[in-house]
Amino acid sequence: MEITKPAVAGTLESSDCQVMIEEGDGKVEFSLESSVINQYGNQIRKVALETLKNLGVDNAKVTMVDKGALDCTIKARIEAAVYRSVLQTEDLPWGGAIR
């Protein structure tokens, strides 16, 4: 999926995370800021990259500010940001690319 427009999803509330996505320069660039980066940094990174891969995003700059989100929230926020960026709100691939 081609990311051309910048988009944001999520909040900075506890248990949530805010994801910002913008046009990349040829690869996926992921930067993470988290209160639990020392404990879960690797897991968060893994989930985020996997989600992006599932969506077919291979060229984007993703910035995440995590406030202790669960895996399901991380996925949901990244997906929300990606689909906002491509302006798709209907006929989403539930259970397909979104999983």
Partner: protein, 556 residues
Amino acid sequence: MINPNKKRLRRTMMFLNAQKPGLIKDPYIYKPDSIMLDLEDAVAENQKDAARFSLFHALRTINYRGCERVVRINGLDSPYWKEDIRCAVAGGCDSIRIPKTESAKDVYIVEKEVIQAEKDFGRPEGSVLIMAAIESARGVMRALDMLRTVHKSSREIKNLKELNALLENVQKSEDAIAHQERLQIMGTMTGGIAHEFNNFLTPIMGHAELLMMELPEGSDEQDSAKEILEASEKAMDVVKQISSLSRKNVETVYKCIPVKKMMQRALKMITSVCPPQVHLESELQVEQENILGNKTQLNQVLLNICVNAIHAIGKKEGTIHVKCEVISRETLAGFLDKELPDTWKDYIYISIKDNGCGMEKETLRQIFDPFFTTKKGGEGTGLGLALVEQIVTSHKGYVFAESQPGVGSCFHIGLPVLQAEQPEETVHVGERHEIRMVFADDNAKVLELLRRSFDKIGMQIQTCMTVEELSANLAEKEADVLVVEESIEGQSGVDFCMSIAGKYPKMLKLVSIESISREIVEAKKKGIINGYVEKPLSDRNVLESVRECQKEQGLY
């Protein structure tokens, strides 16, 4: 197949904003019956899209530990609801809640969309329930239509409807119980007062009569005295009815009555009270049948009903049709629409039909209530039919009525038929033949103990564990003494004695009891049973009771 979730319990329902990760991650700790993940009002307009992703992953990954997961979709007037359904169904929700449902069409289009989503995401059709939230007056008015349109699974409205009906029934039966209690208190009170009242009435009437004699004929004063006398006479009538209703001062001995004779006598009496414009027709299809009861009381039952019929016909022409026949227990049970005890096989069925003014439903419901009357002030006591019901019930019978305003009323009475009386035994065994005793009890230990203690004093007894066994035993050979437990496998021993009263008139019938109750004393008074033995049973207390009964009967 009906979705098993359809009838699950929904007492508590927790609403959560599906967009807030902090809320959706652990609501199950409060153990609500249902969790409602909201996509509608709780979610800001610009977060509708993000909320779906959050919802989808929450449904997929969070274990809600058995709570029903309901998704409230956006209103059908918004651009979001279709995608909401797809997301919720794909995520695996249990139910979809339609907000502010107002028409059958709303439910219909949602159902269509849900079925499509079930197909798209590989879920069995009907696995997602639909809950229609009725939030407006218009919705309430059309609730029934909504239900009719859909043929699928659960609908909250339906559950609500069932719940409402249930609550209504509970309310009704509570009201009925309270009403019954009030009547009972009133009955007890009036029974006591009735006697006192008579004492007051006697001097009033006596003095009124004296005044009438002393005052000049035709004077105003004499008229007043006459009024007093008449009013007191009416009061006396009321008192008499009250006391018969409360069963005080009334001798009621139950005897074996031939139905045909009783009916003929009653009809004669009714004819004598019928005004000329009322025709009495009768149809008696009974021959040898007998019932156990009190002739005077049964006469009163028929008379009271017929007098009401005469009043209903009033001044115009009319007919009263009295029919009497024998029907089986099953037939009567069918009429009454309830189970009847199998103590009696057949019932005498009497119907009294008139073509008078009839009754409204509301009146019909109350006719058997004491003091309920439609007659104008002072004319009726409101006790006639109450008395009818009380007498019929104490005869172990049933009475009910049907009516249609303008067409007429019909009263139905069912009374248990006594099993055929056996012809008098001609052969009498020697004067001092051994007493044959039969014991019926559903406790084997008690029977064994009795058998042994009677053995010791050199008497053989017969024992039975069930009513059927007992009937068979008696049919084989009549006993001299029967001792039956007051409740044998749930069946009343007294009722059994009543049912066989005609068959074995000579047999002494005793009931073994835990403690003396009103029913037992009454049964003895009415002659249904000869006596009772208090438990624990022993050879001694049984023989003592038997001796006492024999003494009362004048046998020794």
